[in-house]
């Protein structure tokens, strides 16, 4: 029926599920993604969901890539259109030669389809109505049934899916049987009535290895457990809420005293974000490792406290899962738009430490490291992830931990040190790194107590409004932030295959799309050195990288080029040198977008192939 040759592709395509939210589709879709991974083929799924509980459109986009590209590709080769509300746009989105799977219980006029795609109808509602009487079951198993049909259509081994269901519902035999039955109904129907397999196929491969599949928010929660956090205070906000849910669940598992069932942690759901960060600061001032998780609007609300923590020099860890803002603004869409509001958060001259994890593995490692850095530097540390890595399961390196590692609690003066006559000035730079010593309340009966306040004090924490004391303090803080440059995680360089005048700087969730874009560009003979920034204040290598190139693309997911602004200011860089590559429609950035923008920019400059110039 189609005029265009159907797409033929093994282990490299995009499937998109168009669903209604609250219909139970998410777990079925995830099951399918896991089944493909069990076949040894890397998958990167992304939930595109509304800020709503039930009834609005939601999509689950699944990139299948034997090459291991985990960024969003763009386009859709197979659409599973289960939502009549979005039918037209869903059908329109399919690539020419692509495939459409739909519920054919009610016949649709020919005009609602396209000529250049393969249409695969399955009477899912009718099949469910025959099989089940309960309305809820009819809905839930409809999803499982299409997973069964897809298993057949893509040539996936049914036994793999069956085993997966058994693993997922271990101990709940009734659920295993019911789910396998629904899978089997869909599978058999497709086998009997549709051309299985279609041009898109999943074939056994060895691309997954020992990788794990987890989302960044869960990894942050786990990182906080491993990082030694004992106090978490928070206020619910999308898309960060599950950081705390994960922390809570890992704490129940790992931090419950085996002898008496008591908690080696405290989690408080505060009345708002101001109270959340206040509790974090109080706990950290009192010697506990403490954190909060929030998103842009929460960051705005916490501003005054960030300033207090900065100047009173109290460690605090903030996980900011970035999204669009403010108010009801794009809470379920991803962005990297809080850099500026975190980097210089609060009134007065402040500068904060920021970490940029690229995936769940780094959410875990940088999440844990954030607590060491906060204690070492006695300042708030922000872990800036975003919805794309926070709320989507992602294949990543397995977590690891060195058991010989000890927490770096930083410069904490003990009762013994005070008794030994150590000079204690709470805001005195005795070591030349700008970092003073602190004492924890209750340390010593007569020595080491001090009164914490903002900046109206001298190096010994005594009240002072003297300009000289203020300047001493500000210069020491500036020095401390210089020290921070050496402590934040170093940038990661991905050099081009040959020397080039062009560079690209990126960070966070852009990473997989960037890696793929570099590969696409290399194929076109365009060579770009890439640097992934992992921390702020910028390590010297970041600024050196810019100086080493004629032009540097700064690739990020916000409208104003916030990392670029930070680079310009902090590195005193000529603005002409840093070229914006900005993606900010709320969807994750794609390799096609990045490669396209960079190629366009270079062709606009009439750049002859770089290898010729460099060769001379």
């Amino acid at each position: 029926m189609s005029q265009v040759k159907p797409i033929e592709s093994s282990n490299d395509f995009v499937i998109k599920f168009a669903n209604v939210n609250g219909s139970g589709s998410a777990s079925a879709n995830e099951l399918f993604a896991r089944a493909i991974m069990r076949m040894g083929v890397p998958v990167a799924p992304r939930n595109i969901f509304p800020s709503n509980i039930q009834g609005m459109p939601t999509w689950y986009e699944m990139r299948v890539s034997a090459a291991g590209w985990l960024g969003r590709r763009g386009g859709c080769d197979l659409m599973v259109a289960m939502n009549p509300q979005t039918w037209d746009r869903d059908v329109a989105e399919i690539e020419p030669g692509g495939y459409l799977v739909y519920d054919s219980t009610k016949s649709l006029p020919r005009s609602r389809f396209r000529e250049d795609i393969t249409v695969l109808g399955i009477p899912l509602t009718a099949m469910c109505n025959r099989e089940y009487t309960d309305a809820r079951q009819r809905q839930l198993f409809k999803n499982i049934m299409y997973v069964g049909a897809l298993t057949a259509l893509l040539g996936i081994d049914f036994a793999v899916v069956e085993r997966l269901v058994a693993d997922q519902y271990r101990g709940k035999d009734k659920l295993i049987g019911a789910n396998v039955n629904a899978l089997r109904l869909g599978f058999d129907h497709a086998r009997a009535n549709l051309p299985c397999p279609i041009g898109l196929r999943v074939e056994r491969a060895d691309g997954v290895g020992d990788k794990i599949f987890i989302n960044g928010n869960d990894a942050c929660g786990l990182g906080a457990v491993y990082g030694g956090a004992t106090v978490a205070a928070w206020y619910p906000i999308t898309p960060s809420t599950s950081v705390i849910e994960a922390f809570s669940s890992y704490c129940r598992k790992y931090r419950t005293d085996p002898d008496n069932g008591m908690a080696r942690y405290a989690i408080v759901q505060a009345e708002d974000e101001l109270a959340s960060i206040g509790m974090v600061i109080g706990a950290a001032w009192n010697g506990s490792r403490a954190f909060t998780a929030t998103s842009g609007p929460g960051i705005s609300l916490m501003q005054e406290f960030f300033g207090l923590a900065y100047f009173a020099e109290v460690p605090a860890v903030i996980f900011d899962v970035q999204r669009g803002g403010p108010s009801t603004g794009m809470p379920t869409r991803t962005q990297q738009s809080d850099l500026i509001s975190c980097a210089y958060a609060s009134h007065g001259d402040t500068k904060h430490v920021l970490l940029f994890p690229e995936d769940p593995y780094e959410c875990f490692t940088l999440g844990a490291q954030a607590f060491d850095l906060a204690d070492r530097l006695q300042t708030p540390v922000f872990v800036l992830l975003d919805l794309d890595i926070g709320m989507n399961d992602r294949l990543c390196r397995p977590f690891d931990w060195d058991d010989s590692r000890r927490y770096d609690r930083g410069k904490v003066m003990t009762a013994e040190m005070l008794d030994a006559g150590k000079n204690f000035g709470r805001y005195l730079d005795v070591d030349g790194d700008g970092i003073p010593w602190r004492t924890i309340p209750g340390t010593h009966p007569t020595k080491g107590a001090f009164f914490s306040r903002g900046t109206t004090r001298n190096a010994y924490a005594k009240y002072s409004e003297a300009g000289t004391d203020y300047i001493y303090n500000m210069e020491r803080l500036r020095h401390k932030l210089e020290t921070a440059k050496k402590l934040v995680p170093a940038p990661v360089l991905q050099p081009a295959s040959q020397p080039t005048r062009f560079g690209a700087i990126h960070y966070g969730s852009t990473s997989p799309a960037m890696a793929e874009a570099l590969s696409l560009l290399e194929q076109q003979g365009i060579h770009v050195d890439a640097l992934r920034v992992r921390g702020f204040p910028f390590a010297d290598e970041v600024i050196e990288f810019i100086h080493a190139h004629d032009e540097v693309f700064v690739v990020e997911q916000n409208e104003s080029g916030q990392l670029r602004m930070l680079l310009l200011t902090e590195g005193e860089i000529d603005p002409k040198k840093l070229i914006r590559v900005l993606h900010y429609d709320g969807t994750p950035i794609t390799a096609r977008f990045i490669a396209g923008r960079i190629a366009d920019a270079l062709s606009a400059r009439k750049v002859t192939p770089i290898r010729k110039q460099v060769a001379s």
Partner: protein, 351 residues
Amino acid sequence: MTYLAKPKLLRSDAPRNAVGYTRRDYEGAISTLCAGCGHDSISAAVVQACFDLDIEPHRVAKLSGIGCSSKTPDYFLGASHGFNTTHGRMPSVLTGAALANRDLIYLGVSGDGDSASIGIAQFAHAMRRGVNMTYICENNGVYGLTKGQFSATADKGSKSKRGVVNSDTPIDLVALALQLGASYVARSFSGDKEQLIPLIKGALRHRGPAFIDVLSPCVTFNNHAGSTKSYDYVREHNDAVNRLDFILPRDKIETSYPPGSLRRIVQHDGSILHLRKLDADYDPSDRVGALLYLQERQALGEIVTGLLYVDSGAEDLHRHLNTVEKPLNQLGDAYLCPGSKALEALNASLR
């Protein structure tokens, strides 16, 4: 000014308490508040209460918000750690501190602007959460540091120094605290140390949120005719529900009062509160009754002082969260980090 150290002239024969400290050891820097400020009397009452209770100063953490009242923690307990936080946010910082170390005594000092205006949410939620603390609101109905604006506790119809009449309904923090679940609720007057010191002592030994609203006239901006928070006004309208004697467990039970006029309350730690009743009908264990009494008297233009409510069996936030007995800030790496083996098992479950 407070950056001038207080002279350390200590008489060798100064009386020492059971933990070996003199009263001077509980003092702080010299106050910078206006001469005659009610807040300084409250600071003195805190010093006396801690001395009498044999509390080691470094076992107290004192926290405050912003305002004249919130400056005072610098003026007592100089050997305690203190934290002058942000305006209206002391309760959250104190809550966090209390979570980190359940063994210290937490003293929060705030004012009426700090607690009833900008910080009313945090005030309310710290009370309902059951934070183990003594929360003193030094209430003068006026913003002193910014020179005389009304606060949310200013009575309707009261006059500012500039002659402006307040038309807003006042917030009664005592009534709020009662409603929100504070388990020790009292009101006193900065000029009445006989009443105030035992109330502070009882609060310090109470487990759970203890709130004391202390009317503390502002000598500069709110001590004029027409003010309902002036010394004269408060003295004239004060209705004390009881007189409190605070007794440590080691002391013998007081017997100097006639039976029937005494009510004995044993707190969780064995300390004893003796309420010497002035009003025969007053029952401090009845939260609803306390609210009713408060409002009846308020309608008559009276300010009720004394211990309005105490629940000696109250549970605090740590009990609700079931946290371990050892302070969280003292748990070592081995108690906190699950280690590589657990991580390997977790990795396996994520494939």
